[in-house]
């Protein structure tokens, strides 16, 4: 920090890399969009090229590309059972996009696109859209039974229906805020400890050690958040399919 002021929020600033205006909408390529594109390309390249020549005994790349699919498949199997099969590709896409966003953000000079609520809220709204769509196609208007647990006596309906409606509406918000705030807090922590390293002279080894630990923890959190996001979406899907 050569005399400059220290601002841990600077890493989250968006700036335009290329201008693009279509019909009055500002669709400029920002650093966030660039990193999201990199994430999508890495995921697609991994899945396309590693599964070119499929073998019964997978080589290393095929094993690497099978891991996320198997992981999410097992997760969907344990939460949704066989009814979850159609949703596995969607859940794998979510998992890989969130995971790669978190992991790419840990590289030096990289931007964490999952640290912006516009990205995470979009993901959460898409997931809740899928949940609502599934509920309505499976049960029609019976989907509204979701808001009154079966077996509940009718006289508590006036209390329990508003509670259930609010808790349903809070689901996308909690999904979005959890992911975005986790990434934001973790990256601010890393930058603050890095700042301590640069200013504390010869005892900088202690904040450096702390930073290594925090970085390891962030790596763990990157996986954990992707897992939690996918797990919660599959739990919500289970609610929509089986209606309590």
């Amino acid at each position: 920090m050569a005399g400059g002021s220290f601002d841990p929020m600077k890493q989250f600033q968006l700036h335009k890399l290329a201008d693009l205006n279509i019909a009055g909408f500002d669709l400029a390529l920002t650093n966030s969009a660039l990193h999201a594109l990199v994430g999508v390309l890495v995921a697609s390249a991994l899945l396309v090229f590693a599964t070119r020549r499929l073998k019964l005994f997978p080589n290393r790349w095929q094993a690497l590309s099978e891991w996320p699919y198997e992981f999410v498949h097992n997760l969907a199997q344990s939460n949704l059972g066989d009814k979850g099969k159609p949703f596995v590709p969607f859940l794998v896409t979510l998992f890989l996009f969130v995971l790669l966003g978190n992991l790419i953000g840990l590289l030096p000079y990289a931007f964490t696109y999952t640290s912006h609520i516009s990205v995470t809220l979009t993901l959460a709204l898409i997931s809740i859209g899928v949940v609502i769509g599934t509920g309505f196609t499976k049960h029609g208007l019976g989907f509204f039974k979701l808001f009154l647990p079966s077996g509940a006596p009718l006289f508590i309906a006036p209390i329990i229906i508003p509670i259930e409606v609010v808790s349903f509406l809070a689901k996308p918000i909690s999904l979005a805020i959890r992911l975005f705030a986790n990434m934001l807090a973790g990256h601010i922590m890393i930058k603050v400890f890095a700042f301590f390293c640069t200013t504390s002279g010869f005892i900088a080894v202690f904040p450096l050690f702390g930073n290594v630990l925090i970085f390891a923890f962030e790596l763990f959190v990157a996986f954990l958040q992707a897992y939690i996001f996918t797990l919660l979406v599959s739990v919500y899907l289970h609610d929509a399919i089986d209606l309590h």
């Binding site: 939460n79 909690s174 805020i177 959890r178 986790n182 954990l224 797990l231 739990v235």
Partner: protein, 82 residues
């Protein structure tokens, strides 16, 4: 003390108060929660596959409250101004 300094100090006190209160709450919740999980696993180690998702969901719920407080602190510090 002029108005801007007073506002700044109130802002800092409010932000740190929220942060510390939620720290205490999240610490109590996490300690209680994981001790229950540990004793459940200790009583019945074969239940690990069924306890684990519940553990993650409960952890996520506690974490969400703490992170909500983090967002509130960030809003107090960086968004609210005179």
């Amino acid at each position: 003390m002029d108005g801007a300094t007073l506002f700044m100090s109130v802002k800092l006190i409010a932000a740190s108060a929220v942060a510390i209160l939620v720290f205490v709450g999240a610490a109590l919740a996490l300690g209680r929660f994981f001790s229950e999980c540990a004793s459940a696993l200790g009583r019945n180690p074969e239940a690990r596959p069924s306890v684990f998702p519940v553990m993650i969901i409960g952890f996520a719920a506690i974490e969400f409250l703490a992170l909500l407080a983090f967002v509130i602190v960030m809003i107090i510090l960086f968004v609210i101004s005179v």
